[in-house]
């Protein structure tokens, strides 16, 4: 299992309905990209961090390990905004207002990422996917996504073990050997995926499979109280942004 999903399964909010957590987490993400970056995104970032480490109880180290991935993309993505092309002072020069634009982008993306992480760290995929049918996603697509989700872990595990076996046989010592090992890894993943699908099909056929995968979904009800508190929090962040709004200089 992947670290974020593993954390979601043991989250304090695991039993809450995904809608509750979507209103809060994805609401914060929407605010992060809609509000002025300063102080809007900064407030969203702060609120998300407090909720993640406080009520949601996400372990600090796990959060950092997951957060540094999008943070790296945010930093490298913001760097090109520091320069401009084809100005009067030369072909590539420092852009006027570039640092401000880069800082605003960095604030916006880092805050938006935390909002999604709040949702991801508290909502296991196995709770979310079956409920997508009610949201209007066709059942066959949800079934394919469910099989993809469950099979991904098995395949990732197989790939890890094959890679270890290849390394033990000096499969990564030279560049040519690395390429050969990598190609073998990709091909074996394909073969194993199809083999598992065939065996699963045989097993399900023996149990009267009619094309629909029926899975048990933990019962949960949308909490009016939780949703109301979340909406009030989002409204407060938006209101505070407009009160404190000043251009970032």
């Amino acid at each position: 299992m992947l670290p974020i999903d593993e954390a979601a399964h043991s989250s304090r909010w695991r039993r809450r309905h995904p809608v509750d957590k979507a209103v809060l987490g994805l609401g914060l993400t929407v605010l992060a990209i809609s509000l002025p970056p300063w102080p809007g995104a900064a407030l969203v970032l702060l609120t998300s961090l407090v909720v993640l480490l406080g009520p949601a109880g996400v372990p600090r180290r796990r959060l950092w390990r997951a957060y540094r991935v999008p943070l790296g993309f945010c930093v490298t993505g913001a760097l090109p905004l520091l320069v401009q092309v084809g100005g009067p002072d030369g072909f590539v020069t420092l852009a006027e207002g570039g640092p401000v634009r880069a800082a605003e982008l960095l604030l916006r993306t880092s805050a938006a990422s935390l909002g999604v992480l709040l949702f991801a760290f508290t909502t296991p995929m196995s709770d979310l996917l079956p409920r997508l049918v009610r949201a209007g996603v066709p059942a066959p697509v949800v079934d394919v996504a469910l099989v993809t989700y469950r099979m991904s872990f098995l395949l990732l595990d197989s790939v890890r073990r094959i890679r270890d076996a290849q390394a033990a046989r000096l499969g990564h010592t030279t560049r040519a050997a690395t390429w050969r090992s990598l190609a073998g890894l990709g091909a074996t993943a394909f073969v194993r995926a199809f083999d598992r699908a065939a065996r699963l099909q045989t097993g399900l056929a023996g149990r009267g499979y009619d094309g629909t995968l029926r899975v048990l979904v933990p019962e949960a009800r949308v909490s009016v109280r939780f949703t109301t508190v979340s909406v009030v929090l989002l409204a407060a962040v938006a209101a505070l942004t407009f009160v404190l709004e000043r251009p970032l200089t």
Binding site: Q84, A95, R108, L128, W179, A183
Partner: protein, 232 residues
Amino acid sequence: MHIAEGFLPPAHAIAWGVASAPFVVHGVRSLTREVREHPESTLLLGASGAFTFVLSALKLPSVTGSCSHPTGTGLGAILFRPPIMAVLGTITLLFQALLLAHGGLTTLGANVFSMAIVGPWVGYAVYKLLRRYDVPLMVAVFFGAFFADLSTYCVTSVQLALAFPDPSSGFLGALGKFGSIFAITQLPLAVSEGLLTVLVMRLLVQSSKGELTRLGVLVAGKRDTTTEAVAR
């Protein structure tokens, strides 16, 4: 190459979502029809989705000495066809956003457009075109994967340039800026992914003729698989 969460302004995020929607809906219809006609396809398609997800998690050695990961769009399009890849790619990108914090939900539309729509369609078109002119299978596979990868980066550059035009030279300057940054790292990676796809396909032709025939990549009943006509 995934555009990170919150990177695009809201109007751009919505616009790319709207642009992707018809392709994804078309793919969903193809997938639903396939599953209704052949219920066992659910498992096969799920396995294909898992394969695509795992493929994007493989570390690919790059010419510069660092490493990256393959997009898998070229191989996926050749094996499963672009309409199905639009759906599988969307599912994969959703999983990457929620399980790996890679990409994002607000940028899902833009990422789907570049990685699950343009990449597979361009790669598949190049592959089919070359096969029509009797170019050997592995050469067609290489160029299919290469152009799938390259077109994905080009579209991502356009998306970023539209969102962040250069203060001095506007959209074109920004396109040159983002394009040249991508070119340094992604051109060697596109070559690497092309080579890897050829190696994977060679192994698959040796070990999984049945599956490849079932997917329509190889034609049943011919002995020399490397010169198969790919008619789908």
